[in-house]
Symmetry: D3
Subunit: 116 residues, 6 copies
């Protein structure tokens, strides 16, 4: 549940400081299952996702150093979370990771890429 | 998609300026159908709902006059929208109106009351 | 998945012959559970619901005798299905029955009443 | 919310004139974000989708010239809408477009292809 | 995610040991908001719900002392969880509590009653 | 609605006998539509899916011969159902088949592969 503003003309009223609830989903794909017949330990995946999201919760992204000078669109945030997740699951998972941010029941954005 | 802060201890990290996507549902209940076999004209209901929500879209509620000194919890906002809706549909609808604000797929609040 | 037309001015373009997918839900409420700790046998409830819906499936309601001269709004259909269901579950269920017809993920109508 | 009939034996009772509510989703995929950190302007995408769907709303497809002699299955309609959308977003979007038509909460069809 | 068997004829194949994922929702209703403009502190409500569900997670209900000789239908479990929740939220909440157990996207049961 | 246990350390409390409701979705993809403008006859697809799921309904997988010595994870079951489905739809469908098992509204697994 974050606040932010998107200061480009294309965003219309979203140029104002406003907010969003993001539902974040992580999808892990691999060609083979591991010795325990799973793609990834779901508890581990959830832990990592929570760690990555923690610093963003209940924040005004406009005032966070890490996003200084950035346009924090849903697409950008999906990519940002993907990078953080990829770094943390690398030891336990090789394959394809997709991060999806739902901002309402009709609008969402994803970033999809390899974890190697 | 609004920004706001909830400045009471009970709200923990939500005391900071953050944001939310609210999905707003309106439920109309009546004992009888009208001469067109409907509870309310759904296009009229949607128009009124849009009118009521318009001034709240992409806003920082903390800076809006109408919410000055108010704790803009989901419960409070459901009540606020209910009052606005009730005033506007009164001519065309007598019955029970429930306004629900979904803030995520697991959390929501409603206000329910008569329109007379 | 039915076709119908709603020939009153208030329905605008829905005065034309058009169609709808209806998702029909039945809610049974009672004050006490029966000797098997259930409100109603769910298989029985589903059977009855299927029997009631069968004659409506893939039909043009405008050409069905039973709806002659009727405005087949969602509200009307919810009431119609409620009456049919009530008659058929009466032996096995005393309580409150609500029939809901979802016509899309944002619009639906219910009829709620006692089964005695 | 359209009416139509599917006049081939394989469709069983759907050979009769019946109807459907279609929920239409458009998914835009691109390899890179544009200078505003987005895949496509969502307001533009929604406008185009509405333009494309407008002539189909509350219609009996069996009587529309454009579908004369066509079997208007969900698959066919997904392809038809994809073609119309592709033509209209071409200036602002290069990438992959998927159009999904949900006909109920358990059945849907998509068409997926490049916009170039 | 529990295992259990329902040993009465009416349950057909569910007389065998089988299992279910239950999604548990708690709905709190009150006539007035508290001094913080809320019905209940949602974090407190979630904590209590987790405490109540903890002993049931990943269990075979047939082997739990507390359910000895009981028919653990969805209705029964909704009532059981309601009683546990009511006892624990009593200090902070007066009003109406509804516990809903979803066993699939088409079947669920609730128990609703006062907390005093 | 099955019972099973997952007897490896990584599964924590799920090593105990517990259960799950699985919602099983089948997705059929092909490059071309057939002469009836469809990917597959949906009634045929549903029939085949029901046939494949029938022997698993209301079972304790730990006691079924076919799963002896197997870790019946969601991933494993998706693959198992895919193999069964592929064999049965081969005559009427060439293309890509994805089987998804939803175990709750937040966790699911798929297996995706060609049917040839």
């Amino acid at each position: 549940m974050i606040a932010h503003s998107l200061q480009r003309e294309v965003f219309g009223p979203a140029q104002r400081l406003h907010g969003a609830t993001y539902i974040v989903d992580a999808l892990f794909e691999s060609k083979k299952l591991d010795k325990d017949n799973i793609v990834i330990d779901i508890d581990h995946a959830l832990d990592v996702l929570k760690q990555v999201l923690k610093p963003l919760e209940y924040q005004n992204l406009d005032t966070m150093k890490v996003f200084k000078g950035k346009l924090t669109t849903t697409e950008f945030l999906a990519n940002y979370i993907h990078k953080q997740m990829a770094r943390k699951v690398r030891k336990n998972f090789k394959g394809h990771l997709t991060i999806t941010l739902g901002e309402s029941h009709i609008a969402w954005a994803s970033f999809s890429g390899k974890v190697k």
